[in-house]
């Protein structure tokens, strides 16, 4: 674009416009007078405080600029006169005249020439493209101001749980359209308004000014995002499962939703042990409770949680009886979705095998092999958990929480004159193993879910139930009335109430 009358190419025009707009001082307005057969359009371009170009336009048809059938030149110059020293550009747009020319095209030419005469210092050009199209392209190419950084507003949780604002840098000063930046954030549960992606421009004095705000209801989790600068004031975020919508709420209202603190529960290692004694329906009910608890923790836990699942049954009471040993269905798995399915399969297989064994015994005239009815391998289950937590198997991440689901007492380590329950063949003594577990793993939580418990406080009434009192040190429930979320809260695995965060969370935690 030059001040001469020659017609530059569209690329040059756009480049010139971009440079001119980028050099605009804050508060100054660039006026572009467009003359086309449709009339005269006055474009006012200005940059706001964060370097975003804003454009307003006023159109005039030729009839309103004619007086007694001819162009009123004084009126025209008054209308295109720049309001400050921001500059004036004259543009004759539309297709080049060829053959018979209509009056409007002649008026456009005459007005363009009048403008050049009236404002000889103004830049002028001819272009087949409309100024609207040219400005759209030029404003998008305007670089960010030389002293502003674009940043995404985030929250950061300090070790104390307190929340503070932080920012993820997106684009450097003089960043241009097409610039990208990759980063990872975490989305916490949000209210109905969703998680807000607010882009702010920050100056060297760390003064922030909101650039754009968009939001969407995003499932909790970590997301690796790519931010792309589309134009000053517009940033595209790729990597989210849903599309962001422009959020028109008041900024202060959004800020008011930020809680003071975020209590994070984790990392943790949830170990669920299910007793597989009794009828199929009893066992299935226990497995269901295990599934509910695991799902609840998986969905609501703040920190990373690993999951382990074990089964235990009863020791065989004689050499002729079959014994299902303590079985680890899965250990320290970060994704627990397959655990419960595998437990269902294991239980079904063992039930079928037991039925087959008994069928054979009955056909041989022998009594069916019934499981020992008075106790379960709680003590061996505890020994197995203790062994695995010590390694060499991975101990899982974080604080262990052992949840036992069943009903029977443990086998004693030796003959018990009171209960007459047969002793554990491996001589495991839960009275030694259980305290050792708690001692070796600081903060380890214990929860018990029993089949039938009339009053949670009645655990100690029967001496045989003493172990269940210890297994439910931190949380007790019955399989009949089980609130998985409340149980997980009681064990300190998930926060007591669902905490909403209006902004994404920075991944790395700051030190306190």
């Amino acid at each position: 674009m030059t001040s001469a009358a020659r017609d530059p190419g569209t690329g040059d025009i756009v480049l010139g416009l971009t440079r001119t707009i980028a050099r605009l001082q804050p508060g100054r307005v660039l006026t572009i007078a467009e003359f086309s057969p449709a009339g005269t359009t006055i474009w006012k371009v200005r940059l706001d405080g964060v370097g975003i170009p804003h454009v307003i336009e006023h159109g005039h048809d030729w009839r309103s600029l004619r007086t007694l059938g001819s162009l009123d030149e004084g009126e025209l110059l008054d209308r295109i006169r720049p309001q400050d020293n921001g500059g004036l550009i004259l543009a004759r747009t539309g297709p080049a005249p060829a053959g018979s020319v209509d009056q409007d095209a002649l008026d456009a030419d005459e007005a363009f020439r009048a403008g050049q005469r009236g404002f000889p210092g103004a830049t002028s050009f001819r272009s087949p493209q409309s100024v609207d199209d040219l400005l759209d392209e030029a404003t998008a190419k305007v670089p960010l101001p030389s002293s502003l950084w674009y940043e995404l507003i985030l929250l950061r949780r300090r070790r104390s749980g307190r929340l503070e604002f932080t920012a993820q840098q997106l684009f450097l000063p003089e960043g241009r359209r097409g610039d990208t930046r990759q980063f990872t954030i975490r989305c916490e549960p949000s209210d109905d308004n969703g998680t807000v992606f607010a882009v702010a421009a920050r100056d060297a004095a760390f003064e922030f000014q909101l650039v754009s705000m968009a939001s969407a209801k995003i499932p909790p989790g970590n997301y690796q995002l790519t931010a792309t600068l589309l134009r000053p004031g517009r940033v595209l975020f790729d990597g989210l499962p849903v599309k962001l919508r422009t959020d028109s709420r008041n900024w202060l209202d959004v800020l008011a939703e930020v809680p003071d603190r975020l209590d994070v529960y984790g990392p943790a290692h949830l170990i669920v042990a299910v007793e597989c004694c009794g009828t199929d329906s009893e066992v299935e009910a226990r497995i269901d409770r295990a599934g509910q608890l695991i799902d609840s923790v998986r969905n609501a836990a703040d920190g990373p949680v690993t999951f382990s699942l074990l089964t235990f049954a009863a020791h065989a009471h004689s050499r002729m009886s079959h014994e299902d040993p303590v079985t680890v269905v899965g250990w320290a798995q970060s994704d627990p979705r397959d655990l419960i399915r595998r437990l269902h399969v294991l239980h079904a297989r063992r039930s079928a095998e037991r039925a087959l064994r008994n069928e054979k015994r009955v056909s041989r005239g022998e009594a069916p092999d019934l499981q020992y009815p008075h106790a379960a391998q709680l003590e061996c289950m505890l020994a197995e958990v203790g062994r695995r937590l010590r390694g060499p198997e991975p101990a899982g991440t974080g604080r262990p929480a052992l949840v036992t689901i069943g009903v029977r007492p443990a086998h004693p380590h030796r003959v018990d004159p009171v209960s007459e329950i047969l002793p554990c063949p491996r001589r495991h003594d839960w009275r030694i193993i259980l305290p050792r577990l708690a001692q070796e793993h600081e903060g380890m939580a214990f929860g018990a879910i029993r089949d039938v418990v009339e009053e949670p406080n009645d655990f100690q009434e029967n001496p045989l139930d003493e172990i269940w009192d210890h297994l439910g040190t931190d949380m007790k429930a019955s399989t009949d009335a089980f609130d998985a979320h409340a149980f997980a809260v009681g064990l300190g695995l998930v926060p007591p109430v669902l905490q909403y965060l209006p902004f994404p969370l920075a991944i790395s935690e700051g030190a306190d």
């Binding site: 009471h317 004689s318 050499r319 022998e366 009594a367 019934l370 009815p373 008075h374 380590h413 030796r414 003959v415 018990d416 004159p417 007459e420 047969l422 002793p423 063949p425 001589r427």
Partner: protein, 322 residues
């Protein structure tokens, strides 16, 4: 379960037998049932058991099958049962040789001790309802005709029910009244303190320091016969009834003291883990309590303790007396 084919038979008219006396569930029938197994466990003793009539033989077979194969206890006795068995032993005859197969061989002596064992239901000895009951009258008649009596004392049921004295006093008082001569009765009496394998009984003996290790390779503990009476004296103190302490004076009042002997017995014995092969003081429970609808069961193999000894002692004395 053992079927009863010879129940309600009249008392034997032959040589005087041995009668069982005890409250219900004191282990009388189980004791009898374990006798054959006990003999099989100790072949060195040289004794074996044979049935003297078809019913007694069948009972012998059924008892062994029930206990060793099916791991169940014999059914409680509902009527007076009379098992005519005999203990047979083949022993070398001192100084007696005979020409046999081209050389002299020592002649064996076959010793046979008839065992006419009368097993009566525990209710028949109940002192509260004994008068006018035919079954009680038959029990007393049996006792009167017997030369040996096995008195069963179950410390476990005594602790729970405390009815041992009630089941002993009335019967023995009637027995004395039937005696033709005055003074103490001439019967030989083996007082069997049963269910030594039960945890509470064993633990009591352990705490009283009355245990010794048996000579078997399994190293089963036992209470020496010399301490059995003292053990009995300690156990009666644990009875639910205050009258249990009167049993011992009653026995000494009724029978000659030298003809009363005490044995600490167990029909099923202690559980023996086959992989260990020796008695394990931490895991010896062989009796599995009943769980509805399943009856009580025997956990493992049967190793009777002091089951042969009282019968042999009685049998020897009864034979001599006969």
């Amino acid at each position: 379960m053992a079927s009863r084919t010879n129940g309600s038979q009249p008392p034997p008219a032959g040589p005087p037998g041995i009668t069982m006396l005890g409250a219900r569930q004191t282990g009388k029938t189980t004791f009898l049932a374990a006798l054959q197994i006990a003999l099989l466990r100790k072949p060195d003793l040289g004794w074996s058991l044979r049935g003297e009539n078809p019913g007694s033989t069948k009972a012998l077979i059924d008892f062994v099958n029930d206990m060793s194969d099916n791991h169940v206890f014999p059914q409680a006795t509902n009527a007076i049962e009379n098992y005519r068995w005999s203990l047979e032993g083949e022993f070398p005859k001192q100084g007696s040789w005979e020409w046999q197969r081209w050389r002299f061989r020592r002649r064996d002596r076959i010793v046979s001790i008839p065992l006419d064992l009368v097993d009566a239901p525990g209710e028949s000895a109940d002192g509260r309802q004994m008068f006018g009951r035919a079954v009680t009258e038959r029990l007393v008649e049996n006792l009167a005709q017997s030369s040996g009596i096995v008195v069963f004392y179950d410390p476990v049921s005594e602790f729970d029910r405390g009815d041992a004295f009630r089941h002993t006093f009335g019967v023995l008082t009637q027995l004395r009244s039937m005696a033709q001569r005055k003074g103490r009765l001439p019967h030989y009496v083996a007082v069997c303190i049963t269910k030594f394998d039960e945890i509470r009984v064993f633990e009591s003996a352990y705490k009283l320091k009355m245990l010794e290790i048996g000579a078997e390779v399994e190293e089963f503990p036992r209470v020496p016969d010399g301490d059995a009476e003292a053990f009995f004296g300690r156990l009666v103190r644990l009875s639910r009834s205050d009258n249990a302490g009167l049993i011992l004076p009653l026995l000494h009042q009724t029978f000659r003291k030298e003809r009363v002997r005490f044995f600490v017995t167990s029909a099923i014995g202690f559980y023996l883990n086959p992989t260990l092969g020796v008695f394990d003081p931490d895991d010896y429970q062989n009796h599995l309590p009943p769980v509805d609808p399943e009856p009580a069961k025997i956990r493992g193999a049967i190793y009777p303790i002091n089951v042969i000894e009282p019968i042999l002692w009685l049998g020897e004395n009864v034979r001599t007396a006969g």
